[in-house]
């Protein structure tokens, strides 16, 4: 690699709010941008904000945003020197990252090898153990057969969870409470994993029914400097999909916070990680223990809350790191101050099973005022398309403390007016008013336990 790799032009291999977020960061760094779009996204905001735009295919993602050849062909022909993958689509695809690098185009993310290591659940766990990071009791390698699964389940005790080794996003996970359930679930889970991830490999973990999802944002440069930007609490989930995230986690003591955050840094150091990344942990409330769950090797949807409390622009750092620059931040420079909450506002009908609600947006009045940030690619008269995910906007509320952050979020939710499509704004209003949420007395089962649909 050349000693002074400078990035002049970035191709943003994504759409929606994250494409807009990347373009904004690039603009602030005086870097040119190329937006890519499918035929359905001709008028999308990201195509208007970028310096250049190029159509890469048909509306279905497989024929556009996931189609390597056209993305890389566009990057080459328009002379991009870097590609930002955003999240989703090709963001955690090591082959795409490697193909991009082989063409001399910098992939703004970790090395393909780091992505490969963390994509495989049992390999990732093994690496974490090496680094002294606690892992959930379970299988060391993939579990090949039912007898093997039974033996292991007896050892660690029920309930257990069956997971696809190559899985993610909650797909292919099954909670198993007894030997009987294991028998009926093992084969199904294998088949499901095969279908979804082209690999029927399963592994087993102890299931922690009363736990919180806590993750740590890290940033590392290519010289091996790694810092954390504190934790995020993401226990407000539905079907393993995060709905609301906040930082700091009100439940952690300063000692445990330090411990979790420094373990996340150890984890990243052990695999020579660079770029932005997130180490996810499960915090077992009953036993006051935390365990490594997985590492996300990309920018995450919920990164803005960490930006709000630390003042660090994670996207800009990610680009600078990819350009070969060293982190100009020491851990002691990073101070968290205040509290931030993010609500993921989706175009979904939450009163009818959170069914997605594509269609034409009529009114789109954004909230504002002190402490409010909105990341969105939508506007009045734009369309929510059926081909892509249903994220409409990320509404972020910052306050001096959690109470003020909650108050501002409640105010902002009331100001946010969307007509034409269903949204989850109403559901978020309920969460923000919930007594257990207000006390931060929650677990990953919070939504399921508190709300009946």
């Amino acid at each position: 690699m050349s000693a002074n790799l400078k990035i002049n032009k970035i191709l943003v291999a994504n759409r929606g709010e994250i494409a807009v977020r990347v373009i904004r960061a690039a603009k602030e760094l005086n870097i040119q941008t190329i937006a890519v779009y499918s035929k359905a996204d001709v008028d999308a905001l990201h195509t208007r904000l970028a310096d250049e735009k190029v159509c890469i295919g048909e509306p279905p993602s497989q024929q556009s945003y996931l189609f390597y050849q056209n993305l890389l062909g566009a990057a080459e022909s328009l002379r991009a020197d870097a590609i930002h993958p955003g999240y989703g689509f090709l963001a955690e695809n090591p082959d795409f990252a490697a193909a991009s690098q082989a063409l001399g185009i910098k992939f703004i993310g970790p090395a393909p090898d780091s992505m490969r290591l963390m994509a495989h659940k049992s390999v990732a766990k093994q690496k974490m153990k090496e680094a002294g990071v606690p892992v959930i009791p379970g299988s060391e390698q993939s579990v090949e057969s039912l007898p093997e699964a039974k033996e292991l389940a007896d050892k660690i005790g029920y309930p257990i969870i069956l997971k696809a080794a190559e899985g993610g996003g909650g797909k292919g996970m099954r909670i198993v409470n007894s030997i009987g359930e294991l028998k009926s679930n093992f084969l199904n889970a294998t088949q499901e994993a095969e279908k979804a991830f082209n690999s029927g490999e399963l592994y087993i973990e102890k299931y922690l029914p009363n736990s919180r999802h806590i993750e740590v944002q890290i940033l590392g440069d290519e010289a091996g400097n790694i810092v954390h930007l504190f934790e995020r609490e993401c226990s407000v989930q539905r079907n393993h999909q995060k709905l609301l995230e906040e930082t700091p986690c009100a439940f952690l003591t300063p000692t445990i916070r330090d411990e979790i955050c420094s373990k996340a840094v150890d984890a990243a150091k052990n695999i020579g990680y660079h770029s932005a990344g997130t180490v996810e942990f499960l915090y077992d409330i009953d036993n006051d223990e935390f365990y490594f769950m997985e590492m996300n090797t990309r920018i995450q949807v919920e990164h803005p809350v960490s930006e709000m409390i630390t003042g660090v622009d994670i996207l800009k750092k990610q680009i600078e790191i990819a350009a070969g620059e060293q982190l100009n931040l020491k851990q002691s420079d990073i101070i968290n101050s205040g509290h931030a909450i993010e609500c993921r506002i989706n175009a979904e009908n939450w009163k009818q099973g959170f069914r997605s609600s594509p269609g034409n947006i009529e009114k789109f009045t954004l909230p504002g005022g002190p402490g409010i940030r909105v990341d969105t690619a939508f506007e009045a008269n734009s369309k929510v398309l059926p081909y892509y995910d249903s994220l409409l906007a990320k509404l972020i509320a910052y306050g001096a403390d959690r109470e003020e952050s909650i108050q501002r979020m409640q105010r902002a939710l009331a100001e946010f007016i969307v007509t034409g499509v269903h949204t989850t704004i109403g559901f978020h209003k309920k969460i923000l008013k919930n007594k257990r949420f207000v006390k931060s007395d929650i677990s990953t089962s919070f939504v399921e336990n508190e709300f009946k649909f």
Partner: protein, 155 residues
């Protein structure tokens, strides 16, 4: 492009190889160099070139607003569009003649241009026999998905 091609097979070499392939009727060439691999595939039968779709050749009205018809407004031309995003070249090498010029007759299956993407050279062939009425892209320009490259008056 500055420094990014230093240790790669140059475009000139690619073009030469491509020319040789044509002469010797080689349709596919793979060069492996350490961990890098280059594949050149001559697009003889477009069905073979996975995962790229066949160029879509749609009949369009020459009076469509974004096209300026060279002749009478009622005439219909075939628009040759590209399914591949990349760099458009009118000839197989900088020194060789363009595959086609405006006003020339092309047979179905004749090469019209090449599009380079991911160091692979894709040849776009005419799906119809007729006269080339217009070439809508300049040599060495970036082309996007479904962009019209040629208008052909079908025979």
């Amino acid at each position: 492009m500055k420094n990014k091609n230093d240790d790669f097979v140059s475009l000139d070499l690619l073009r030469k190889l491509f020319q040789e392939m044509k002469e010797f009727k080689i349709t596919r060439l793979v060069i492996q160099e350490d961990d890098r691999k280059y594949e050149i595939e001559k697009n003889v039968d477009q069905k073979k070139v996975a995962p790229v779709k066949k160029p879509e050749v749609k009949k369009i009205e020459a009076s469509a607003p974004d096209l300026e018809p060279p002749t009478g407004a009622k005439e219909e031309y075939f628009a040759v569009r590209t399914p591949i995003v990349g760099t458009f070249y009118r000839s197989s090498s900088p020194d060789s003649e363009p595959f086609v010029e405006t006003g020339e007759k092309v047979e179905k299956g004749d090469p019209l241009c090449i599009i380079e993407a991911m160091k692979a050279v894709n040849e776009i062939e005419s799906e119809v026999t007729g006269i080339v009425k217009d070439i809508l892209v300049d040599n060495a320009q970036a082309v996007e998905y479904d962009q019209t490259l040629f208008l052909i008056e079908e025979e």
